[in-house]
Subunit: 285 residues, 2 copies
């Protein structure tokens, strides 16, 4: 399935991700429009040829003209926006997003949209530790995962268009998961690891340590630089799963510590062997 | 202080690190000798021009001829070796090592060596997740930390020779720490992070997750591929410090989890802000 070049694409929220989407889609010949909070962002996008037109207002015509709309907003702002303006979309419009949690979002958005306007959740698993349109760069999608989370309310056609969007943006691996499976996966692979990085930073305040930091420690804590508004919102939306992952991880760490305390070297070695074997599965294929 | 080119250097243990030392020092014009466990390792080193001569035996003359000796062995084997063969070193010989823990090692080795033979502990903070001389490569020292851990028993001259060795090998940052400060630093920056990576691998056995792994998760768990014999030995040698670091980290993780459980978003955000600020100090200068 190809997305025809005369389709009009609206991006709501021109940050790091929204900006990178705009850059890529404009370069590929689509008419890209944008609604975002700050005029300076629109100016930047226009100057850099990333969009055809943009506004900080709710432009009913721009919304009604969109064939495809991508939302790159904080979750609660996304929901509010659809509550207030979802009614302006035309029948047949396809709406997707970039939100990092799905269960608290997909059902709500689908329920809020008018008949004939489809929402298919998507999670582009790409990002940087920097923000804003100035840092946007379509290169960051290369080889990354793009996960589409349809429900039984979605048509096959809309799901395929959503997946094609991911491929067009350059994602290496475009797959489908239910919102539930997505949130379980992301709770372990992404959210738990961010929690670990944060706790590692807050548990030791010795500033002298920086002098001796190696690359392993830098790699491990790269994600400790964290946007607290966005991540606290994502954590709370997936709280039950994340809490259970934190408990499972904390239990294993305690098992390792107990083994040390009791000189139980065999248990330590066994955990290390399991770790080594399991880690091999995660190598890039 | 320069290390004169006519100095004979003995390397005991030709693995990843020992092999990389041999490669670099031979290239720079030193006579490098080696004692190691397997004949195939000696053969490899000779074929690749990494050493002048080597043996799997205890060659008393080779030991007595050494001006500088570097030990790259497991800690307990290092101690046994010195117990049995330390007497063969000549007066004025300078001995150093690559062991990742210092408190349980430095005093013991210094006490075992004959009068006039100096041991200065050193920790080259470089490594890979692979082993053996076949993977050795002096490039891995570039920009890394080399920490020398002298005691009041060491002469200034020997300490300077040891530091010069680190600079010659290409380390970017050659510093001194007491064995105690070294072990505290390494307990947090290296050992705790290895424990975290292991627990992260053992706490979830869902093989499907690999499909969705992003680079953040790969970075975080690169060190989960771990040599269980070496690391369990290093952990046990630094057990008191490591246990206390694990408790401090576990406490912060629990604090974050409790904040989630009680919808205390302000505490979560505060921890994230501290994390973000502190992580900025660890960026490469």
């Amino acid at each position: 399935m190809e997305i025809q070049k005369d389709k009009k694409i609206l991006i709501v929220g021109l940050g790091l991700l929204g900006g990178s989407y705009a850059q890529s889609l404009t370069r590929q010949g689509y008419e890209v429009y944008a609604i975002t909070r700050k005029q300076s962002t629109i100016d930047y996008a226009l100057e850099h040829g990333m969009i055809k037109a943009g506004t900080t207002q709710i432009d009913e015509k721009m919304i009604a003209d969109a064939d495809i709309a991508v939302f790159a907003l904080y979750p609660h702002i996304f929901i509010e926006w659809i509550e207030q303006n979802g009614k302006y979309f035309k029948k047949g419009a396809i709406i997707t997003d970039v939100t990092g949690v799905k269960c608290g979002i997909v059902d709500k958005i689908q329920a809020l949209l008018p008949e004939g306007v489809e929402f298919i959740g998507a999670h582009p698993m790409a990002g940087k530790e920097v923000y804003g349109i100035e840092n946007s760069n379509e290169e960051m999608f290369k080889g990354a995962n793009y996960i589409v989370t349809p429900t039984e309310k979605n048509s096959r056609e809309a799901v395929e268009i959503c997946k094609e969007l991911g491929r067009m943006l350059g994602f290496g691996n475009v797959t489908e998961l239910t919102p539930q499976k997505h949130d379980r996966m992301i709770g372990f692979l992404s959210q738990l690891t961010h929690c670990i990085a944060v706790a590692l930073m807050t548990c030791n305040d010795d500033a002298n340590l920086c002098k001796y930091t190696g690359d392993s420690f830098r790699d491990l804590t790269r994600i400790a630089r964290i946007n607290e508004d966005m991540w606290s919102e994502l954590f709370m939306l997936n709280k039950d799963i994340l809490i259970s992952e934190m408990k499972a991880f904390g239990g294993e760490l305690e098992k390792l510590r107990r083994a040390m305390e009791t000189d139980d070297v065999e248990t330590m070695k066994k955990m290390m062997r399991v770790s080594t074997e399991r880690r091999a599965m995660f190598d890039k294929k």
